[in-house]
Amino acid sequence: MNDRGIWRGIVIALFLTFMIVPFLATVLFSISVRWDRTIFPEGLTLEWWDKVTSRSAFETTLTNSFIVSFATMLALAILVTPTAYWAHIRVPRGKPFIEFLTIIPFGIPGVVLALALIRFYSQVPLPLINTPNILVAACMVLALPFMYRPVANALDAIDIHVLTEAAQSLGAGLWQTMLRVIVPNIMPGIISGCLLVFSTVFAEFTLANLLVGTRFKTFPIYLVEFTRFDGRQASALAVISFVIAWLTSLLIIWIAGRGGRPAESLGAR
């Protein structure tokens, strides 16, 4: 029994080391004067943080990423929530088709999705190609499963038929029922979905790089540019990305824990 305890401790310690050391090293690297000749950094400084955050491109790219992430998140919430509710309550036979469309994104590599969208929308006279609009649409496809799963799970966890009938027998219309009764009941699911979409899109590089590139620079594109010419400033940007991803994820976990019903946020990327 004791042997197994030791074995378990070693496995967990190795795993934690592997997962945490890269992050800590990046943090330390971003505040080191120099850290490429010695085991310990040669002095600490905030110079790289100062330099990288004072550039105008820093603010622009951060804002751009926030815009794309929020737009994708809102659009998906508005598209997916009523659809999932309607399918659950009125068209259960539509669910397999919906689920099919939410599984497709797992099977399409980012580069292929970008190529497919360019091929089709460059022939169509819509204000999409080469604009942030196409990036939002592509990010919606990418993040669709992350929105649908938590919302559908939240709907499964409550008795929506009883709630809907109760609301309607009290005279509520369809929209009233959905907005005032159903949505508050599945709020933890919707918020988990939104946060998951947000953190996925915020870190998205492939689609942004191929669909809009330098026309609408996002934060990850800015970061990749920096890794090519100044590692120390890049490390500060990497730390910001890490922190945003970890904060949103911790929020999701906290909400899931508080809601009592785990809004299954896993399920593959």
Binding site: V111, F120, P220
Partner: protein
Amino acid sequence: MRNVTSQKRISAWLAWLGLAPFFLFGIAFEIIPVLTLARSSLTAKDALTLSNFERALTPMFIESFRNSIQLSAATACLGVMFGTIVAHAIVTTRNRFVRDAITALADVTTNFGGAPLAFAFIVVLGSTGVVTLILKMIGINLYPTTFRIYSIQGLTVAYLYFQLPLMILLIIPSLLGLRREWREAAINLGASPTQYWLRVALPILAPALLGGFLLLFANAFGAYATAWTLTGPDVNLVTVQIAALVRGEVQLDPALADALAMLSLAVMTLCVAGYQWLGGRAHKEAR
């Protein structure tokens, strides 16, 4: 009477209209673009042909598929093995805090990839990275010959950063489904722990392990951002090749990119479909 049923039928059909916005979105941004891609990959000079695929079989592109498949298979294998071991350690620990904290960590890190991850690994294992320096001090020289982070080897290590947590999250439900009584029954009947694992636990876990392998494989096969940041155009992967064709860095006809894209789409679809099928089976058996 007949009037009522036909009215019901009409309202059932009308109910489908409520799903129209979602289906329109899916058709406009998933189905039609992919079909457009498929058609253009199968067309040359306005005729249906496989010639684009034939031309895609140049040594360079064949190598890119070989590299991508090797990288995906290696990280999926390692991910399944170590992920299951860590997940087993997590589910058997009696310390609730450790269990919750590590599950949370896996949740956070499995969605983490791309540029920041690549950069973090350069800091740790690059030619002047901290682990590289420590190893050098104790007499192990990684560079220039033993190991390079800017290579397929390096990508294997970096990919594990999101593959391991994904496997842990996928396999935990199955590990929790292994009942304590089965182990006790096997031991009472004279089985050693090894025999219990090989003859009882692993066969039960097999669909979940295989499904995990397929999903991890697809996860690595479609990845681009991490590879691009870490190695640039130096490592010949399918996604790197397609991206270069999309950006027009290489002067080649567009139909070739489409053919490559369709081939990689086929690989991914097989993996995801296999995962879904195995998942459905595991679900039925659990009932």
